[in-house]
Symmetry: C2
Subunit: 340 residues, 2 copies
């Protein structure tokens, strides 16, 4: 690429580099005639300030990093949407990295972003994340940092979360209110805090209603996929023919369950009521329409960026910043799959 430099402009016009620089910045000690000549030539030659040099001077990249487990996931793509929209308003660019739910990749990407000297990092942990040395490194280097959705409670950073326990309790309570007595739970993997909390909420709702908890009714996803939904639905139907409801860690898994039940002529909700989590777009177009928990994903992204921005601004002024936690509101969306 041919890059126009201040030097070329200066040489072409037979003036000093300093004068060119001053003219471009509109300094008053440069004549308007010179200013005009410089601006015209700069435009003609497609001159743009060298952003690397500007970065070096300001030590600001106006770029933030975002690490998420999976882009092709309605929840995360909607979060990205919220982050990009807010970043745009504030003149920030967003580098997006995908951990593919792998701890190893996640560590590598944190290192990449630190090395790139982004102004801040927003992150949702991978399912594999069970050690947090790489996260501690972000804190140690005092890089503004916000966690959302799948977080590490122990890391002292800002967080944007929902109350997973409460949301899950409400969802299961609705199933119980519909007369369901034997409710299976397809939970998320062992590590993520939100999978743990949703499981606890399920258990608490049973306890509150004097329904005995049975660990055999709990199925644990490894990868939280559509295929696992199909597989566990088959196991539930075969092993526990009297199960009358299934509560799933996320809509994608619930869609797998629904797909299996529909294909095997098991009536939803009459024989088995079904409840997802997250309110993906597709949940409203299924037959029957899927009941779920609405999780404000766009707002989660927007809030995460704004919290990060706040920390970046504190840092610029060398003020101490106390991490904040924003808890967003969820609601149970009752559709056809759970009304009996």
């Amino acid at each position: 690429m041919k890059v126009t430099t201040l030097k070329e402009i200066a040489e072409t016009l037979g003036i000093s580099i300093t004068t060119v620089s001053k003219a471009l910045k509109g300094y008053s000690d440069v004549s308007s005639k010179t200013k005009k000549a410089v601006l015209e030539l700069a435009k003609e030659l497609n001159y743009t300030p060298n952003s690397f040099a500007v970065n070096l001077r300001t030590q600001e990249s106006k770029t933030i990093g975002l690490i998420i487990p999976e882009v092709v996931h309605h929840f995360f793509s909607s979060v990205i949407n919220g982050i990009i929209a807010e970043a745009e308003k504030n003149g920030y660019l967003v580098i997006i990295l995908q951990s593919n739910e792998s701890l190893e990749l996640e560590k590598k990407q944190v290192a990449l972003l630190l090395n790139k000297r982004v102004d801040g990092i927003i992150m949702s942990l991978s399912n594999e994340s069970n050690d947090d040395d790489h996260i501690k490194e972000i804190i140690k280097r005092e890089i503004p940092f916000v966690q959302f959705d799948k977080i590490s409670k122990l890391i002292p950073s800002s967080k944007v979360i929902i109350n997973d326990q409460k949301a899950s309790m409400e969802a299961v309570q609705h199933l119980i209110d519909q007369g369901c007595k034997k409710i299976a739970h397809i939970r998320g993997p062992i590590n993520p805090q939100n999978a743990i909390d949703r499981f606890i909420g399920y258990k608490k709702a049973l306890e509150k209603n004097d329904i005995t908890f049975d660990s055999k009714l709990v199925y644990t996803c490894e990868n939280v996929t559509f295929e696992e939904g199909i597989q566990f639905a088959k196991e539930i139907v075969n092993d526990h023919p009297d199960v009358d409801a299934v509560f799933c860690i996320t809509d994608l898994v619930a869609v797998g369950v629904l797909s299996y039940l529909n294909d095997n002529n098991i009536k939803v909700p009459q024989q088995i009521a079904l409840m997802g989590f997250s309110n993906w777009f597709m949940s409203q177009v299924l037959t029957p329409k899927l009941s779920t928990v609405d999780q404000p994903s766009y707002e989660m992204g927007a809030s995460s960026f704004n919290l990060l921005m706040e920390e970046i601004n504190y840092k610029k002024q060398n003020l101490p910043f106390k991490p904040k936690t924003i808890e967003l509101t969820t609601s149970v969306i009752i559709r056809e799959s759970s009304i009996r």
Copy 2:
């Protein structure tokens, strides 16, 4: 943020900055004892090379820009996935910007990326794009550039596309083969090349089968949404009760049509056969399952990045690069919504 500099390491150890720099790079004219001391201190102080300074020296940012119309769109999120995965393998970071289908925002974002001096740009045009001065600017500045999906044919850049006309002809031919005689088409907006080509393919398939083209059976989306699918389905059913098939610009619109038909007890495919485009994940879990055209979105992303990488490498060696066009294969996926 406290940033460790070479100077601090030099002062702490009482050696010159040059020696510190050489030690970090493993130069042989520095004693192994000094090297060890420098490396240990650098690690202790969290020293990382200043990437801005490195960028200034190499004029390479190892970062590319991606501008897409919408992140929360199964097709585009899957493309992003392909791009990020290949970028990761090649040590590149990806800045993602969203035009929200707005030409004004798209122009602003091209300017931002040019100013940021990314090493290359990958882009799918917004629906509003009907002028391409901003795109010509990318070419003029000799920034490696790849267009995919919604492209401008006139811009001399590499492109990753599908044969929209052919794909669309095959989809409509399938509907005709199923006995459909009055096929409505819900097309995309006026500007995008792919919407134009899919419309032409629809028209050609009718002509080939001696079915008279009727412009009243063509409905034009402004925003290509689920809601437009519902609205147009209603209009089609009211205005043309003898329509026996609908071919939609994309699955999202087809899902809107299906939703309206299901809610109004109009049998799909018996009364109206339905065909989407793009093969979104959800098309396979609908009732009935949606027939569609499979468009290899992940591969489209991966190929776009690899073409860009090729151009970047040519440029590094100051070799002339001739833009290439990769055409990916599509296939009609026949499911329940179109089998009569």
